[in-house]
Amino acid sequence: MLKCIGMAGNRSGKSSNAKGLWRFALIIATVGISCFSVTCAAEQNRVGIAVCSTTQVADFVRQVVGDRWEVQSVLTPGSDPHTYQITPADVQLVKNATLCFENGLHLEGADWMKNLAADAGKKLVTCTDRIQPIMIEEEGQAVPVRDPHAWFDPANARIYVLNILDAVVAADPDHEREYKARTELYLGQLRNLNAWIIKQVNALPRERRVLVTSHDAFNYFCKAYGFESAAPEGWSTGAEVGAGVTPASRAKAIESIRKFGVKSIFVETSVNPEVIKQMASEAGVQVGGSLYSDSMGPPGSAGETYLGMMRENVLTIIQALE
């Protein structure tokens, strides 16, 4: 009898276990289907794919399009756009693009983004169009070159964003109001960033506003906020475009450090720090820290976005020079 009861109890236990399992499976299936439909809906809402050359440009595009577009960057955080060599994966990436975006002014060494877009037959938007470039006189170059690092002045960042807005609205006029609203919001953040930088820089005595970095990337920043700039490398890190460290440029940078009584000099996240470290020891100054220049930081870092990158750079500069 006991055995019978025991068996019956066991059978009912098995049946309730099976029911529990079924319920669990049903819940998992429901949740799975819901997630799948949500993902599909989000993807269906997407208008296109934006492929950008650099991390900064990708961030600006993301601010304008939000989740409407899939935004991809050819360069990963920490990569150098001047010396970048394209890969087969980049060709595939651009092939799937709806719109391509580049910085322009030959930041992309040997115009690799222009070539990628032209080969794939895709429309390319140059974000530095309508920007008044700073002209740099390079050693051994008869004609001054246009400095491509225009994003370091937030007022220029506005022009990047407006060029992106125009291109995106032309490609998807149905969501014009949405793109404009996002752009306006971001311009407000750029305005705040500018005011914040001015406030920080004003705390630094004028004679200490000398910025020595690995390569000549901070001219726009220096012009906007009243710094003197000096760099051993030219505007590009690639020697193939008439730059690279020469004994004369190195000596000139060390002379500037001594002349202005510079306290700290800076390495860049996307450039080999060795030259700056050697120069620092030669000139008897310290390395003040690492600045984001041609590339932003990896996800999770302070330099993950343009706003974060600029704030982080300013804090590093002020702390090292004050």
Binding site: P154, L190, N194, A195, I198, Y225, G226
Partner: protein, 165 residues
Amino acid sequence: MRPLLSFIMVVAILGGVQLYMTHRPRVVAYQAEPDAVAEGEFRLEVTLSFAAGPDPFALELEDAPSLLVLFRGQPVLHRTNAIPGGQVIVSDPVDGIVQGQNEFFVQATCANDASLTANAIRVRILRDAVVIAEQTFWSEPGEAIQGALNVTVPPESSAEATVQE
């Protein structure tokens, strides 16, 4: 028993609501008396300590004001061009100033190259060529100047106006 209890509760709740709706205090529309227009000729003068220009971060630069003064929601001064520092910008006459409280909203943005210093803007209201109110607004470097000038205008021309800081 339970249905009866539920029915009684429903009746009680609905009755309570009905009772409140019938005896609640009535909202009477506020009848605003029209403000008496102040006598005399009014003039507005604005002087900037800096070179003003359109907001360098505006979405549409063409429509962005470099200097804007609003009175009763209407622009009394609206400039979109560059304005040199030290120049007195005048709006004469200013119509619609009433006896009692008057508020002027003032906004100015500095041209980008002038934004490394703190900026100020001086606003004066004159009645029959006599200054009745003046105030200076300041901004941190890089920020637009925004402020409101609150002037209480007395009925008589000879009496002094008061400015609420």
